[in-house]
């Protein structure tokens, strides 16, 4: 593992907390919430109860946990209740960790590009269809 000086680690953590609204949850292997912290309210996650089933409290985690010893990455996950999030899940001896990072900017930028690409593709499909129809009529 990289030997990163403590001030650098502290700086990165602060950066994550401030600019990407870091939030976390720890879920025991029996699916119950064990611990949590960070800016969970930014993602619409409130009113958590220790020891209760995570899927009943955070609906988008339904079915995802427990992990089978492999990390999982779910980019740009949105609900109606909070920020668009990059969600990282990884296992540990204490349970499965769920990390959330604000992905709003990433989502906005990608949306613009993807929307344009899809609009162009749809226009291209329409033109091809019209050309095929007119060549059929001509024949």
């Amino acid at each position: 593992m990289l030997d990163i000086p403590a001030p650098v680690v502290a700086y990165i953590i602060n950066l994550m907390l401030e600019s990407r609204s870091l939030a976390y949850m720890l879920v025991s292997k029996n699916g119950c919430l064990a611990d949590w912290g960070g800016k969970l309210t930014a993602y619409g996650i409130t009113n958590l109860h220790k020891g209760e089933n995570i899927g009943q409290q955070v609906f988008f985690l339904e079915g995802l946990l427990p992990l089978d010893n492999h990390p999982l990455f779910l980019p740009r996950l949105k609900t109606d209740y909070g920020l668009c999030a990059d969600v990282h899940l990884f296992p540990s001896s204490d349970g499965d960790w769920v990390l959330l990072f604000d992905a709003t900017l990433d989502e906005i930028q990608l949306s613009l590009i993807q929307q344009h690409a899809n609009d162009v593709s749809l226009s291209h499909e329409k033109i091809t269809k019209l050309l095929n129809q007119s060549s059929d009529n001509f024949c």
């Binding site: 899927g55 009943q56 609906f59 988008f60 339904e62 079915g63 995802l64 999982l72 990455f73 779910l74 980019p75 740009r76 996950l77 949105k78 609900t79 109606d80 668009c84 992905a103 989502e107 990608l110 949306s111 993807q114 929307q115 690409a117 899809n118 609009d119 593709s121 749809l122 499909e125």
Partner: protein, 165 residues
């Protein structure tokens, strides 16, 4: 309460987001807005007297730039393969995606959803194609997110299948 995760899968611009919006909020928008990543909604349904929370994962449509991310599928109890009936390439894409999803999740309930059925004059999917699919035991349902036709039936059917499964 019992909860089940359902994924909406298909090519881009087939109406996955519109189907979810119609089902959850009874709203339809004519404006096409692409999905980036995944949008998650929930709705409680009553299946033969049993309350069931459906957790709906509306996945971004697949195209040449954005491939379907299999990590989104984890924990799904069922999925809807959505086709735009006015674009034959989305039917081919649905067949391709079904094979990939089944490879990842195994055999779980799914429905082939033939969306945009309000545009039958532009329909590109041959009846023989559908009959061949049905002969394989697939469930096929025609829908229109615009009019609401078939939307409730799709979600009720997949919910029942998941409870049976």
């Amino acid at each position: 309460m019992l909860q089940k995760k359902i994924c909406m899968v298909g090519a881009f611009a087939t109406g996955k987001t519109s189907l979810v919006a119609r089902f959850v909020t009874s709203i339809f928008s004519e404006q096409y807005q692409t999905t980036v990543g995944v949008k998650i909604d929930k709705k409680t349904v009553n299946i033969e007297g049993k309350e069931l929370n459906l957790i709906l994962w509306d996945l971004h449509g697949e195209d040449e730039f954005q491939k379907l991310r299999m990590s989104y599928l984890r924990g799904s109890s069922g999925y809807l393969l959505v086709v735009d009936g006015t674009r034959h390439n989305t039917f081919d894409k649905a067949l391709e995606l079904q094979a990939r999803v089944e490879n990842t999740l195994g055999k779980i309930p799914f429905i082939l959803v033939m969306n945009k059925f309000d545009l039958t004059e532009e329909w590109e999917i041959d009846v023989n194609d559908i009959n061949q699919i049905k002969a394989k035991g697939w469930i096929v349902i025609n829908t229109s997110a615009k009019s609401g036709m078939g939307v409730e039936e799709v979600f009720q059917t997949i919910a029942k299948k998941m409870l049976e499964g």
